[in-house]
């Protein structure tokens, strides 16, 4: 991938000639509710428009206004868009955190800050750019009430000046952000940007190394968050019933979907909705509705996060035994409220795989990018109906709520696969059916939908106590036959879930296994280990559960395999232990990151080096 990377200046500021071109992180520290989101998005988009690979990560509190927020923009000519641990350029707008933010910086970093905070006294090894934001905002925003919101746009101008971001690109991003209906607001903000730019150009002499230079690596790409990508995926997968309950970080998935469905899923003739979206009273109701709709033949879904899945547990167990299709988007986050509901984690892998009471196993699709959120949505809806079972699509806050650079989505060519559903004509031909009989050897029976116009269509749906004709039973052999068939069905799924991505590095004795958003850090870490230490590392990214023999093969071919988890308890590794023989388990090592921030490459690399004893 990459051959060279310039390290941040480490021996003090002002080192001539050591530029960090298109390879640095900007952190903006603000207070939430201050309009900083707009300013940050504009900054990120402007860099993107200049053709430089970029990512934006919002670290925000569970609060509406007044608490600290950090937004990190990473520009990387190498295409690394995972979180970068090191901050090269800080914009310190929040008096509460400014001192700590500055003290955490590596030597040589730059700081744009609100002048009254007097941060330059703190350290002598940084580049400081004080800006009198209050003085600058007054002339460009005559309305005092709006100043708090407009003030942040000034730093966009200052940063543009210091980093050589082209102002027309800032302008373009601003217009896109506000849209045609808010042209006046865009103009007001543009004025603030210009004031910042002008102030910087007449006041500062550039001394830090960070700089942006135009490239052509983002042409044709889009910027989208994973939740929106899932929403689009579900819409193009023909989803008709959406039942949900608001929970961070999944709410915007359905809210975005509502917007798209209103635009694109109303009948052009009657104007009526070709779908139903219901905000339920809680997650128990939302999953109950989704399963009821799936039972009745609709493509149904719900979106939630860990606490919601906990509430859904009983129903999903019933869905497993009664064999009901539905798609559950789980945008994972850190554990229970109150605390860190706005921070990311891969906290539900183990729980969801085994969710509910009795013997239960659930398939999971694990996308790592917006593109995969889109494609795996189509696959998940097909899969749920094909296997007649609840399916989890596992994303996380990092993927779901942050903006990502992505390739434009490809239109799904494959017709929808609605699974084994018998029509009235089929029933005429067959003279009846046994709902849970394994005719085809794949463990999946044929079903009928309620309302099928045929006297033999009906069957009775219930939990564990049924024979293959869906009749009530408490017989031991009926129960065992049924759960064994369900187990066989789960085995058949191993080849139907999204298959892993595998890269064997030449001469690699060790390998990584990761899933979801750990991908970005792990790929970068592979490069770091090779470049900095000469250690080749293979990589397998799990994209679906249940696992298959590719997992065994990958582990077998390496001496040690590092399983990367964004949770404390190594949940992905634990799931593997359930499937693997002891000789393979003995090869597994764990790399875990669980601070609530997205995992970064440097942390992974350092952990591996330590465990390798190098």
């Amino acid at each position: 991938m990459s051959t060279l990377e310039v390290s941040p200046a480490s021996s003090g500021p002002g080192q001539a000639g050591q530029f960090l071109v298109n390879d640095f992180s900007i952190q903006v520290a603000t207070v939430n509710g201050s309009g900083s989101q707009t300013a940050n998005t504009v900054l990120m988009r402007a860099i993107f428009q200049m053709g430089i690979p970029v990512s934006g990560k919002n670290m925000f509190p569970s609060n509406i206004a007044g608490l600290p927020t950090w937004f990190t923009i990473r520009a990387s000519k190498y295409g690394y868009i995972g979180r970068r641990k090191e901050i090269d350029f800080l914009v310190a707008m929040n008096p509460e955190t400014a001192r700590e933010d500055v003290m955490k910086l590596d030597s040589g970093a730059a700081v744009v800050y609100d002048e009254p905070l007097k941060l330059s006294e703190l350290r002598g090894d940084l580049h400081f750019y004080p800006v009198p934001f209050d003085k600058l905002v007054a002339p460009v925003c005559p309305e005092p009430k709006l100043r708090k919101l407009v003030r942040n746009m000034i730093y966009d101008g200052v940063v543009a000046n210091l980093l050589s971001i082209e102002m027309p690109e800032i302008r373009k991003a601003l217009v896109k952000q506000f849209g045609p209906k808010k042209a006046k607001a865009a103009d007001l903000n543009w004025g603030a940007c210009q004031a910042g730019f002008d102030y910087a150009s007449r006041t500062f002499t550039k001394s830090d190394p960070c700089r942006v230079e135009r490239m052509n690596l983002t042409g044709g790409k889009i910027i989208i968050d994973g939740n929106a990508a899932c929403a689009l995926g579900a819409m193009f997968a023909g989803c008709t019933v959406v039942t949900w309950y608001p929970i961070t970080p999944s709410s915007s998935l359905v809210e975005t979907m509502i917007g798209y469905m209103r635009r694109f899923r109303h009948d052009p003739e009657t104007g009526k909705a070709n779908y139903a979206i219901v905000q339920a009273e809680d997650e128990i109701a939302s999953i109950g509705m989704a399963l009821g709709a799936g039972w009745a033949g609709a493509r149904s879904m719900t979106a939630t996060s860990g606490p919601g899945v906990s509430l859904m547990s009983e129903f999903i167990g019933l869905g497993y035994y009664a064999e009901l299709p539905t798609v559950i988007y789980d945008v994972e986050r850190v554990g229970p409220s109150t605390g860190l509901p706005t921070r990311t984690a891969q906290g539900d892998l183990l729980k969801n795989a085994l969710l509910s009471h009795g013997d239960t196993r659930h398939p999971m699709f694990i996308p790592a990018s917006p593109e995969e959120c889109f494609t795996m949505s189509s696959e998940a809806f097909d899969f749920a109906e094909k296997f007649q079972t609840p399916v989890f699509v596992m994303t996380d806050l990092d993927l779901g709520m942050n903006n990502w650079m992505a390739d434009p989505f490809t239109y799904p060519e494959k017709p929808l696969d609605r699974g084994k559903v018998l029509s009235a004509e089929d029933l005429d031909r067959l003279g009846g059916f046994a709902r849970y009989r394994d005719i085809d050897g794949d463990g999946v029976g044929y079903r009928t939908l309620p309302g099928t116009n045929h006297p033999t269509a009906a069957y009775f749906t219930r939990g564990s106590g049924h024979n293959d004709k869906a009749q009530y039973t408490e017989r031991e052999d009926d129960y065992v036959n049924n759960v064994d068939r369900l187990s066989h069905k789960f085995d058949v799924m191993r080849r139907s879930v999204p298959q892993p991505y595998v890269h064997f590095a030449e001469g690699a004795k060790i390998g990584f296994i990761a899933a979801g958003t750990s991908d970005y850090a792990v790929r970068e870490s592979c490069d770091q280990l090779q470049r900095e230490r000469g250690i080749p590392v293979s990589y397998m990214r799990i994209r679906g559960y249940p696992f298959n023999d590719q997992l065994d093969d990958f582990i077998r071919r390496h001496e040690r395999v590092y399983v990367v988890d964004q949770n404390r308890d190594a949940q992905l590794l634990c799931l593997m232990k359930l499937d693997l023989g002891t000789e393979l388990v003995a090869k597994l090592r764990s790399v875990r990151y669980y601070s609530g921030l997205p995992i970064d490459a440097r942390s992974v690399t350092e952990d591996v080096i330590q465990q390798e004893g190098k």
């Binding site: 193009f236 989803c239 008709t240 219901v278 009273e281 989505f409 006297p455 749906t461």
Partner: protein
């Protein structure tokens, strides 16, 4: 050449179906359980009304009452869900297929305790569903614990007395905006028939609270949900007759004696006055009547409230008249041009 006796013609309904085609499996509930009588009324009503069984979907939660959908309408799809959450399943299924006629059977534990929240929201949404609460004041399947509809001072078989006031599911449903609220007694065949038929004709949620005694755990002296207690304390609001839309109703109605409520499908509920003139379209009067009867230790039965004007949830959602579940791909997957447009917006 011999003669063969012609068998008497089989009795059929207007669809040409026999009553046996409306029956379900053999009940496994206790002999004498009120719930079996309710199942029988459901069979009769759907047969009498000529409802195609395979257009019906049955729903239930968990408990003795919730077992009963297996004992009626065997040619209808059924869904035995989880405890207290039948409303969600029914809501989802009816969203998926709005042509279905939904009937749910629940109990007092399933509705008034574990499922109270879902019951409230079912009412709030006015889901088109017949919702029958088989109310015996006690948990049967777990062998005789009080439910939240047990009256203060009523006793278990063990002698334990209930100290907490009961929820009145009818009063609660009225308060939450229900559009059809009735109470009946499993032993009152004629009244329950008329109510279930009216519920079939109603195109919103029908809440029917049926006092349905538990012969095993709550039919003793000290119970207020026993057969003998109901015999002594049932107070019918009115005499009910149901005249389906497909029958001629050009019969003179004596002035002042009979109220006539026209249902959604054109059927009529004939309400014959007993000792009071009760207007079932007045919500506050219904609440007052319930309160007064409770104070007198009476169990007021009949149609307490009907509102045929309020839209149901499917209407509020502005959904297509077609079945969502079976919409063709051309209607559920937008064309390529839409994806192109969205991608362009995101560039």
């Amino acid at each position: 050449m011999g003669t063969t006796a012609t068998p008497p013609p089989k009795k059929v309904n207007r669809l040409g179906l026999e009553v046996v085609q409306y029956k379900g499996g053999k009940t496994t509930l206790c002999a004498g359980c009120g719930h079996n009588a309710v199942s029988e009324r459901i069979v009769e009503c759907f047969y009498d009304m000529g409802i195609q069984p395979w257009t019906v979907a049955k729903f239930s939660g968990i408990g003795c009452s919730s077992k009963s959908p297996a004992y009626f309408l065997g040619l209808s799809h059924g869904f035995n869900g989880v405890h207290g959450r039948m409303p969600a399943v029914a809501t989802g299924a009816l969203l998926a297929n709005r042509q279905l006629m939904g009937i749910g059977v629940t109990g007092d534990g399933d509705t008034a305790s574990i499922g109270l929240g879902q019951f409230m929201h079912l009412v709030r949404r006015n889901i088109p569903l017949i919702y029958i609460i088989e109310n015996n004041g006690v948990y049967g399947l777990t062998k005789g614990q009080f439910s939240a509809t047990a009256d203060v001072g009523s006793t278990l078989k063990t002698g334990t007395s209930n100290d907490l006031p009961p929820f009145d599911c009818c009063a609660l449903a009225l308060e939450w905006g229900a559009t059809f609220v009735a109470r009946s007694f499993s032993g009152d065949k004629k009244q329950l028939q008329a109510i279930v038929k009216a519920a079939i004709a109603h195109k919103g949620l029908s809440v029917i609270d049926v006092i349905s005694p538990c012969v095993t755990f709550n039919d003793h002296a000290g119970s207020t949900k026993s057969y003998s207690y109901m015999k002594d304390h049932e107070q019918a609001l009115h005499d009910l007759d149901f005249v389906p839309y497909y029958e001629d109703i050009a019969v003179e109605i004596p002035e002042g004696e009979v109220r006539d409520v026209e249902m959604h499908d054109g059927s009529h509920l004939r309400i014959r006055k007993l000792d009071r003139d009760y207007d079932p379209t007045q919500k506050l009067a219904a609440l007052a009547a319930l309160g007064e009867s409770q104070a007198k230790n009476e169990v007021l039965t009949g149609v307490l409230y009907v509102d045929t004007g309020k839209p149901n949830f499917l209407e509020i959602l502005h959904m297509t008249e077609e079945t969502l579940a079976t919409l063709p791909e051309s209607k559920t997957r937008p064309p390529r041009s839409v994806l192109d447009q969205v991608m362009e917006e995101l560039r």
